[in-house]
Symmetry: C2
Subunit: 440 residues, 2 copies
């Protein structure tokens, strides 16, 4: 009989408690599946308090670093969060002590993943983090192992449930961003300080991990261009709908002639694409590998039970004696990814302008687009009673009318220059809304 | 430097050739990802003929069994197909000789998977078969490893591209089954003898593998209830659409109080479910684990490159030294799955009847449904000018009118008994169409 695998858990919040319970409930089947028993033998958390008999039974250790060095444990599970100490120091201690580590800490991995992977490698132990990206969805495993033979062109996904929840309701109920954010906070889908989620940083941290796995680059969140969803309005989603698109906050990493482009921003995706079907707090990742049609993985990206499922599967791999390079290849083989400037991004664009109602407005707009070699796929005027090219109707002389332009593939630089020139001519009011289009 | 992993391939059709090419193209990155070089050193196929310089360069072996025993190879890749010899004998030879095996052969696994897994176990080698189910979609890996800590309630999916292609076009173009099948054959999406695909047997073989992985039962295609799509008509799909459903050929395995129910049949799924979005030849599997929202994996389920991707990933796992129990647990722990009689299936039903136009017809139908305790969620009469309860209109006295009934959850037994009784009363023409409903 093989000795049981002994687990120590740092962090007993929703996820930590779910991990303890899942291991207890599934004890027998885990033993059969992994060839040895898995048991939680020690734990620590910020506060020592009553948490129910199943958690109180576990041996208590004073702090994470002490737990990480505990001679009884084989695996250190870090569920404290935070992009530095005490989580970082505790993981380093565990790895240096020859213990495998399982973590759900995307923030820490996006910042220090490379150094931690190198330390795991040096000590010949596992560093697993399926739970850090997309909850129970097997994103890490699929990129690292399931498609190990493939070369990737693009990976893109919905990696933040809060944003997708807000955008889903904005599309369906046509309510403004602020109202929906407050509702999401009330329902517990958004934090009191929602910046991290809605401005795209959470998505960026997950994308950094995904991009490293897919393209063999060093995980580095600073290489990512990030824009959030706070500037979006129901008008944009309505216009997108009419044109056959949905708007999603996507994290996109793709191979270009200039290197790996990594970006997080509101994106128009064709309504019939797999990613466009993903609604509410659900997450998804689409993977374009060379020579094959895309695969899409969809599921709950957060929540105690969903995250715990991936933590326990990662522990299971360690129990079965599997050790994979954390980012899919030895750290020395991971290459530096420079931040690709967004100005050089190529693609289609959605542009919403408020055109001033006077003769020649349309001619001015189209002239400056043409000067930047931007071709238009479609033009939609939202209110025909205030036509921007008109001015014949004296009853509505000064009301600017929304105009929506969809461009064929061009560069971001060209779009920015054209809009700057158009603004200078005084033919548009306010700030133009620009949303990038991602084709499937 | 670790010695390279030497691969022998039996079968050089579309998939075999794609495997050879993918390993050659990805040689460098595979070496980095797996920690050792992977090379194809020997091959065999039914006929020795010119196949292009990349394939002709490989050392030729006379037959599969000889290749399986070849002292130079570490891994035997079986891509011959067929549910018995020579594929079976060759795999047995390889396993007995201590070589790991990778296969895409669902037919063989559905029939002899248990014995082959036991042989792999005895010889302490791997038997990997990600490519046998859903092409490049990581279905085996997700059930076997990615969700190793979870207990499953239900797994269900679209596992045959031919059927989904036909149903997608039937829904969109309202063309009858025979026309679409001929078109699918012409386009190469269906075989000359399409029975295996359209009658559900291909789906059943894949479901047998999926069910074993999810529920720890012995793989056995005979335990599956199988119905195909040939009886479906555009009228059914149109009616489903109006009621908020789509019709898909699903393979479903679920835990019930009476054991694991395994079935393949046309199924009505809610239009907003992830599985309903899957169109054309694409495959998908949804996984319901206890306590978490479902995950759905979507992608190309067939084709040389997609299948080769999974074969190569399986070889990659072997190169990295990973060996998992083929069906996720030791064969001795896999339990027998009895065939659950369909009569005891519980769920909602779609019933399409041709009601004879005379007084009392509706009363007769509803009386016999009520006698079986079947409650109706909705009733749709397709042509009001030939109302089945009427008979007042002398201009259309004898034309039977289609009536569509959607039941609340009931048993198959009750539905069959009610329909038999209704038929006996002479109030319906022809054979009633019955489609099971699967809720998400």
């Amino acid at each position: 009989m093989v000795a049981s695998l002994k687990v120590g858990i740092a962090g007993l919040g929703t996820v930590g408690a779910s991990v303890v319970r899942l291991i207890a409930q599934q004890c027998a089947v885990l033993g059969v599946r992994c060839g040895r028993k898995i048991e939680v033998v020690a734990a620590t958390a910020r506060k020592r308090k009553k948490r129910g008999p199943d958690l109180d039974r576990i041996r208590w250790v004073d702090n994470a670093k002490k737990l990480a060095a505990d001679p009884e444990i084989d695996v250190f599970v870090e569920l404290m969060g935070g992009d530095g100490d005490p989580a970082k120091a505790a993981i380093e201690t565990a790895l240096a002590n020859g213990k495998s580590v399982v973590t759900a800490n995307k923030a820490l991995l996006a910042k220090h993943g490379l150094a931690l992977a190198a330390l795991a490698e040096k000590n010949k132990v596992a560093l697993n983090f399926e739970a850090a990206v997309g909850g129970v969805i097997p994103i890490v495993k699929t990129l690292r192992e399931g498609m190990a033979g493939n070369s990737f062109a693009r990976v893109y996904g919905i990696l933040n449930g809060t944003c997708n929840y807000i955008l889903t309701r904005m599309e369906r109920e046509k309510l403004p961003f602020d109202v929906l954010l407050k509702d999401a906070q009330r329902l517990g889908y958004a934090e009191a300080d929602p910046t991290f989620d809605i401005e795209g940083y959470d998505t960026a941290q997950k994308l950094a991990i995904v991009a490293s796995l897919a393209f063999g680059i060093r995980v580095d969140e600073r290489a990512i261009n990030v824009e959030g969803i706070s500037s979006l309005s129901p008008e944009d989603l309505e216009a997108a709908d009419e044109l056959g698109y949905r708007v999603k906050l996507l994290g996109v990493a793709m191979r270009t002639a200039k290197g790996i482009e990594q970006r997080v921003h509101p994106t128009m995706v064709p309504k019939d694409s797999a990613i466009a079907q993903v609604m509410g707090v659900t997450n998804a990742l689409s993977i374009d590998a060379h020579g094959i049609n895309p695969i899409t993985l969809v599921g709950p990206g957060a929540g105690g039970a969903a995250t715990a499922a991936s933590v326990v599967a990662d522990i299971g791999d360690i129990a079965r004696g599997v050790r994979t390079a954390p980012f899919g290849r030895p750290t020395a083989k991971l290459v530096v990814s420079k931040k690709a400037p967004m100005q050089r991004h190529e693609g289609g664009y959605y542009i919403r302008l408020l055109a001033v109602d006077r003769p020649g407005t349309f001619a001015t707009i189209t002239k400056h687009l043409a000067a930047q070699k931007i071709s238009l796929e479609s033009i939609v005027q939202r209110h025909s009673d205030a036509a921007p090219h008109g001015g014949d109707d004296p009853k509505s002389p000064a009301k600017p009318a929304p105009v929506i332009l969809i461009t064929y593939a061009t560069t971001e630089d060209a779009v920015r220059r054209a809009l700057k020139a158009i603004k200078k001519q005084g033919v548009i009011a306010g700030h133009p809304q620009v949303i990038r289009i991602e084709k499937n």
